[in-house]
Symmetry: C2
Subunit: 275 residues, 2 copies
């Protein structure tokens, strides 16, 4: 059975071995025709060349990582973040991405004021939303695990992200990454709610390792951890999302040290046997 | 101004230097008359001797750490956990503790079934609750940060813990530990709810470091991280809890390597200047 439209590789997963072009070649060797690149990877090869590779190979781009990082210590910083997010929208459009993933940002500078950071996030998305709508680029708010609340994203639950979607209106949805949401007692109800809102834009997979050695760079391959992946997939599909599952693994000491082809072969095998 | 009834030291904080008796002596040297010991520390000196030290020095015991760890792979394991929790209640009574803190446990064995683990937790607390009530020992469910959902506690938000309290009835409340709950978008509303329920039994403090080097053993001293401690204290006091703030710092590479007297002196100073 073809992997087309079913499995996507977030290019962070093969960051240890490959840049954009090598990763695309690798994916194609393994029958994978969907990718989600990071902006630095696109910049390294050049946006035009990246877009050409996508088009030539008829790749699906399940998301561009990432916009967001809105909160700033002052108005100039906030405006610079808005401007950067508009450039990210341009890049996502050029790559014909399904969505621009937003990792919204945490506490700016030495602030301890979470409500203020969260207000800046809402204001920031509101500020770029007209531009995103004009360009028909859906914005996918990715709630991040609460352990990233301080430094990466102060949107930490699906419930909170969906409240933001309601507040902001058309053109904003969510990326459901199992690593960030698997623990949530409200997981089933909030995924169902997201489905009713038509808000699920992406579904990222990996696994939660026990023990986890590093807060950021020790994600597991599907099947190596404790996440009930088939159950979450069932929830997501019951909620009406039938897009690709996107493998996103940050793993400095393990998968990033292995050859890209081994990482992809394992991803494909686990996709079939575990997910 | 006396620290009596205002500042408590969880004896995990001075675990690097001291056992039970040395820690009590240290606390008294620093004007601290409230402690929260761990069961292994009590066992090491003997329950009778620990109780004698508490009584002789008129110490307040703001909590005994800890009961919980309910989920098991089979009935025998579950029953063993129930029995152990009843012993913990006996010990808490002997020490005249304000509450028995429950770290409820995570996924048993190789299970990935969070709903089942959570059901076992509810069943486990229900099973010990009559005994706790007979012995007039309040049970304090401590929601743990979601990063501990797999291996330590599958109760991960105040909302979830309070729902359990409602389900279980009289004799169960919550321990509000800033480290576990500071990130929660529902923090203010759930602390207020806990207050209306009269459910706040303990208030633990420390700080969230950025970066955090270890998921378990890299908690910060108050003021060294990003948690808005005065704001959370204000919420807790507005909710009607005016008991001691209990310093609980697991810090393998920093505070556990410093002399206990330095740890306590810093805790007292930060309590006055930061909390």
């Amino acid at each position: 059975m073809s992997l087309e439209g079913r499995l996507s590789i977030n290019l962070a997963t093969t960051r240890g071995s490959w840049g954009f072009a090598e990763a695309v070649d690798g994916c194609l060797r393994h029958g994978i025709t969907a990718i989600a690149p990071w902006r630095d990877q696109v910049e390294a090869i050049g946006l035009k060349e990246a877009a050409r590779i996508v088009e030539t190979n008829k790749l699906q781009v399940t998301g561009l990582c990432r916009g967001g990082m809105f909160p700033a210590e002052d108005k100039a910083g906030f405006q610079a973040n808005i401007d950067d997010n508009k450039r990210a929208i341009d890049e996502a459009v050029a790559l014909n991405a399904d969505c621009l993933v937003l990792v919204v940002g945490g506490l700016p500078g030495s602030s301890k004021n979470m409500p203020e950071a969260r207000k800046q996030v809402a204001d920031g998305i509101a500020a770029i939303l007209p531009y995103a709508r004009e360009n028909k680029m859906p914005l996918a708010i990715e709630p991040l695990h609460p352990m990233y609340a301080a430094d990466r994203a102060c949107v930490n639950t699906l419930s909170q992200a969906l409240d933001l979607c309601v507040e902001l209106g058309e053109g904003v949805g969510v990326a459901v990454d199992v690593y960030h949401v698997w623990w949530d007692p409200e997981l089933a109800t909030q995924i169902a709610r997201a489905g009713q809102m038509g808000a699920i834009l992406a579904h990222h997979i990996c696994d939660w390792l026990v023990p986890t050695a590093d807060l950021l760079l020790d994600r597991g391959m599907m099947g190596d951890g404790v996440i009930d992946l088939p159950e979450i997939r069932r929830m997501v599909e019951a909620a009406g999302f039938h897009g690709a599952q996107e493998v996103e693994i940050f793993s400095k000491e393990n998968w990033w040290k292995k050859p890209g082809d081994e990482v992809l072969a394992t991803s494909v095998e686990r996709f079939h046997t575990v997910c």
